[in-house]
């Protein structure tokens, strides 16, 4: 397969790893990339915020160059570039009057017949996950990834259309083909804040924090992206988001192409993983040990216990899962033996503690939840206990007691 390659401005600076790893991935998957000659910036959001015609003309110059060179298929790894180039193709193809105006502005022949694809479309639809799977030498077993699509790969629907806009799956399929596990999570198409991280960091930091903490709460240990601006916000600006939220996140972020190249045999340094802001090599290094530990622990347990263990493991990191299970079991026993004593440990207020003791007595589910939290996060256990009591009080009030 041969594709015209539109690297985008960030490939020469902040997203240098994306460029490196896209080229490695292309080699691995026998896709020939030919860089578009003398390409210019697509204008990104700033252009369509300012002047609509300009926002079509800047991408169109690149498309016209591809046409001149007889290239029909263009790969634009940057989600913003992909979106601008592909939108321009579709708008200009549909509306002849607009196309004529664009031609006048760029002063070039332009028929808008090219097709620009994203990295996800290239890997998932053009190459296919079966071929990717066949090239995996170092499977990413043990990795728990949240695939983050953001905005521009899936919206506007009528301009992208290669995946579902609310629950896209193409990146999940690719990452799973590499041997990793992907989590289901609600924020996969939430906006990272884009340029707001620079122009309005007060707003941007909150958006970055909500995405990363949502991935973490869904059980993910890393994020995967296919957009340089998402990467910049989630990785470089993660420290700022941590500071604003008063909470450490330490969530490594990878480009999907980095993972494909790594699984295909490249070393982390070859694809630029050492250039990330949030340390990302350590997690990759820890994967074989995690896989071994999981394999050793798995056959001894009933499926239900194994599942609970996974959740605990995500919460406490490297702590031995077996020991953790034992601790939680002991805590459950303590709850069953003396619910009032345990309730007093969780809630200071005597009256509320008594209500808690009352409601957890004989309620296995609530006891298991509180016991688990007592081991993994005492603060959360206190909050959960308070919530149980508040809920109960509301119920009593409703019932007229």
């Amino acid at each position: 397969m041969k594709l015209a390659y539109y690297p985008g401005c960030s490939s020469e600076g902040s997203a240098i790893e994306y460029d490196l790893s896209t080229k490695k991935t292309a080699l691995l998957l026998e896709t020939e990339l030919e860089e578009l000659e003398d390409w210019n910036c697509c204008g990104a959001t700033s252009a369509h915020n300012t002047n609509k015609l300009l926002s079509l003309a800047l991408p169109a110059r690149n498309l016209a160059i591809a046409e001149q060179n007889g290239m029909d298929l263009i790969l634009a790894p940057c989600a913003a570039c992909y979106n601008r180039l592909h939108s321009t193709e579709l708008i200009a193809r549909k509306d002849e009057a607009v196309r004529e105006r664009i031609k006048e502005v760029i002063d070039m022949d332009f028929s808008a017949h090219t097709s620009t694809v994203s990295v996800l479309e290239w890997l998932d639809s053009k190459v296919g996950v079966d071929k990717i799977k066949a090239r995996v030498k170092n499977p990413l077993q043990g990795m728990k990834a949240a695939c983050y699509y953001g905005c521009l790969l899936v919206r506007p629907v009528e301009h992208t259309g290669f995946d579902d806009p609310e629950d896209p799956q193409s990146m999940d399929r690719i990452v799973r083909a590499l041997g990793a596990e992907t989590v289901e999570w609600p924020f996969k198409v939430e906006c990272c804040g884009a340029a707001l991280a620079t122009s309005r960091p007060d707003i941007g930091a909150k958006m970055v924090h909500s995405i990363i903490s949502n991935a973490r709460d869904a059980g993910a240990e890393c994020l995967v992206t296919a957009c340089p601006l998402c990467m910049l916000n989630l990785d470089m600006r993660q420290a700022g988001a941590e500071k604003a939220a008063g909470e450490k996140l330490n969530m490594p972020v990878y480009y999907v192409t980095e993972l494909v190249a790594l699984a295909g045999g490249a070393s982390p340094d070859e694809v630029g993983i050492g250039k990330h802001f949030v340390e990302a090599k350590g997690y990759l290094g820890s994967l074989p040990a995690r896989t071994a530990a999981m394999a050793a622990a798995a056959p001894k347990k009933a499926p239900k216990a194994a599942k609970a263990e996974n959740e605990d493991e995500a919460a406490v990191g490297n702590e031995d899962a077996e020991a953790l299970r034992k601790k939680i079991d002991a805590m459950i026993k303590a709850f069953n033996k003396g619910p009032d004593k345990m309730a007093a440990r969780l809630i200071e207020d005597g009256e509320r503690a008594a209500i808690l003791a009352d409601i957890i007595t004989g309620d296995e589910k609530k006891i298991a939840r509180l016991a688990e939290l007592m081991i993994t996060d005492k603060d959360k256990a206190g909050k959960a206990a308070e919530a149980f009591v508040t809920g109960e009080l509301k119920r009593r009030e409703k019932a007229g007691l």
Binding site: S46, A47, K52, R61, V105, C151, C191, I203
Partner: protein, 191 residues
Amino acid sequence: MGVTTKILPPQGKDRALLARIEKEAGTSINLCYQCGKCSAGCPVGFAMDYTPRQVIRLLQLNLIDEALNAESIWICASCDTCSARCPRGVDIASLMDALRREALSQGKIKDKKVAEFNKAFLNGVRNFGRTFEAGLLLQHNLKTMQPFKDAGLGLPMMSRGKIRLLPVKIKGREQVKKIFARAEKMRGEEE
């Protein structure tokens, strides 16, 4: 009837302005039945003075100036979630875009930081043909009087080889400059 205020849809000159905004946005505000789905899912709604639904309501009620002066139109991240979810097919994101452009041409800029960022970004493209990240950050932070914002990121960017100190200049720079000039001229002729 005495105490109620009659608010009517835009008439006359305002109607023409609104029609132009709608045409540029390629959408119609009359389709909106104010369900609020756009605003429930808006990732920046928490920071807005008017939610996207309220911005449309302002336009429906002939409060166009109020909409053009809203901070919201500059906070909108153009993520397109609203447009993707609108049950009436209103392209709200595109409308926000058109409002920003209109506010810009009328000199009504509520959030200077965003407008300055766009200006700095496009200046780089106009001069070199490509974005110059280092120059962009520097110019933006100087223009918005926050020279030390992101100062802590400069060195780490450099040590990672992630920032170029000099811009890449494409061969077709003159051509790009002409594209800017023609696009600006043709936009001016339309109005």
